[in-house]
């Protein structure tokens, strides 16, 4: 079994926060196994990004931890209690890739519907309407909302009541980059000091928000580690020049970028300094490959 590595600060912060423990979990649909012998333990509050290609089993993992699916083998334990028990459920919020907004209910009524399910109050509804800046949408029906607005309302539901574990299955899927960024910030702000499992297809997003990464491949746990421990097989620096007609000798060009392979990110500053000394005017410098791409290879 792999587990999240705790620093002293995290260990201190994790006091009283429930853990997620998957022990040899097999799970799937109608007798067919999607998850195969998944074992890991999360004990520190942090954002854990769950990555994997389509069909790898990310959604099945979330549904199994949330107690929606029962494991065919193995156990899920939440804070020492069985994952499918009410005590465990009361510690978690689950956000699926579906908005879950009932037809025929306004935004306010939909939040009221879910507030009853989690014993939240009218005051809680008012609070999340303000926090998520959706008060002006209160009287609108789901069909009258944009995709971004629907997602915002859907997310509002999980903040009706503070819980310790958030299972967020592709919360920014199918959203334009601006809305996705807004929603990402919102989630990270509101779920601070919680255990957040966040699935995504977007490697840059994963790198931006996650501190740990869980990679599922063909239903099996492939990687569970801190993101900074995942080393890229190579580090390539891309440089775009201020004057597009200039060139850099010895740097092959890829699109608008002149590219050079370095020993690691620690060499970037020195290389840029050398370019500056040579009088090369740089408009932009970026890492050409995301180290997380290697895990999909």
């Amino acid at each position: 079994m792999v587990s999240s590595t705790l620093t002293d600060a995290e260990r201190e912060a994790s006091h009283g926060v429930p853990s997620i423990s998957c022990r040899s979990v097999c799970s799937g649909y109608l007798g067919s196994e999607v998850l195969k012998d998944i074992s890991f333990e999360i004990t520190a509050p942090s954002v854990y990004v769950v990555l994997g290609p389509n069909g790898a089993g990310k959604t099945t993992l979330f549904r199994t931890i949330a107690g929606i699916l029962s494991p065919s083998r193995g156990t899920v334990v939440i804070g020492g209690t069985p994952g499918d028990g009410q005590t465990a459920r009361d510690r978690m919020h689950y956000l699926s890739h579906l908005d879950g907004l009932p037809d025929g209910l306004t935004v306010r009524e939909a939040l009221d519907f879910y507030a009853r399910a989690v014993q939240a109050t009218e005051a809680d509804i008012d609070r999340v309407l303000d926090e998520l800046q959706i008060r002006e949408l209160s009287l609108r029906y789901p069909g009258q909302l944009s995709a971004g607005q629907r997602k915002r309302v859907s997310i509002a539901r999980i903040f009706l009541q503070q819980r310790d574990i958030y299972l967020l299955d592709e919360p920014t899927a199918n959203l334009d980059p601006k809305v996705a960024k807004e929603i990402r910030s919102l989630i990270l702000e509101l779920s601070r000091d919680k255990i957040v499992l966040y699935s995504s297809h977007n490697l840059y997003e994963a790198r931006e928000i996650g501190r740990h990464v869980i990679v599922i491949k063909e239903g099996r746990l492939a990687i569970f580690d801190r993101i900074e421990n995942l080393r890229a097989s190579r580090f390539r620096l891309g440089v775009r020049l201020l004057n597009p007609s200039d060139s850099l000798e010895g740097w092959p060009k890829e699109g608008e970028y002149f590219v050079r392979e370095l020993g690691g990110p620690e060499e970037v500053q020195g290389v840029l300094h050398d370019l500056d000394v040579r009088g090369v005017r740089v408009r932009e410098a970026r890492e050409m490959d995301n180290p997380l791409e290697d895990i999909f290879a």
Binding site: Y29, R63, I68, D90, D99, G100, L101, G104
Partner: protein, 177 residues
């Protein structure tokens, strides 16, 4: 008609992931089914009150009076059959909806729901007809056939609800989209 309304909501909630969220909050599939059944029964009550109110009102308005036969038909057949056939339609419809993939047209669960609802009263009327043709219909015979039919349909509904955990896997209530 009332069952179709409740079934429409059930099917929509399944597709949109509402049922999935409720299950994550700890609502069991049996409780979900029971809640939709209660909602359908409430809707049936409204339809029954309106239908009988309008029907009987019109009947009286044209100069008829309430006879024993009419009362017998209402209390012994129409009212209980409305509830029982509506319960049958919503329960079988929810099973059908959960077991089938979303599709368009008359073949959808909602398209078929009226047939589930009409089937029990039609079958009962056929039984009454057969019973009447062979033995001659009497009040007791009518009550016997309708009572047996109501009990049988009610038992089927109760069986489907009580054995939901064995007959329908939880994942059937998840959206396939």
């Amino acid at each position: 008609m009332a069952a179709v309304g409740a079934l429409t909501v059930f099917t929509s909630d399944r597709t949109k992931g509402v049922l999935e969220y409720l299950m994550a909050y700890g609502v069991s599939p049996r409780r979900l089914f029971a809640n939709f059944l209660v909602a359908a029964l409430a809707a049936i009550s409204i339809v029954v009150v309106i239908a009988i109110g309008v029907g009987v009102g019109a009947y009286l308005a044209v100069g008829n009076h309430v006879s024993t036969s009419l009362l017998l038909l209402l209390v012994g057949y129409a009212i209980p059959m409305s509830y029982v056939s509506g319960s049958f339609a919503i329960t079988v419809g929810m099973y059908w909806s959960a077991l089938s993939s979303p599709r368009e047209g008359i073949g959808t669960t909602i398209g078929l729901a009226p047939i589930f609802g009409i089937l029990p009263p039609v079958a009962t009327l056929v039984l009454i007809g057969v019973f009447g043709a062979t033995t001659g219909i009497t009040t007791n015979g009518f009550l016997l056939v309708t009572g047996a039919a109501l009990a049988l349909i009610g038992l089927i509904v109760l069986y489907l609800l009580a054995n939901l955990g064995h007959l329908l896997r939880r994942e059937r209530l998840l959206s396939s989209s």
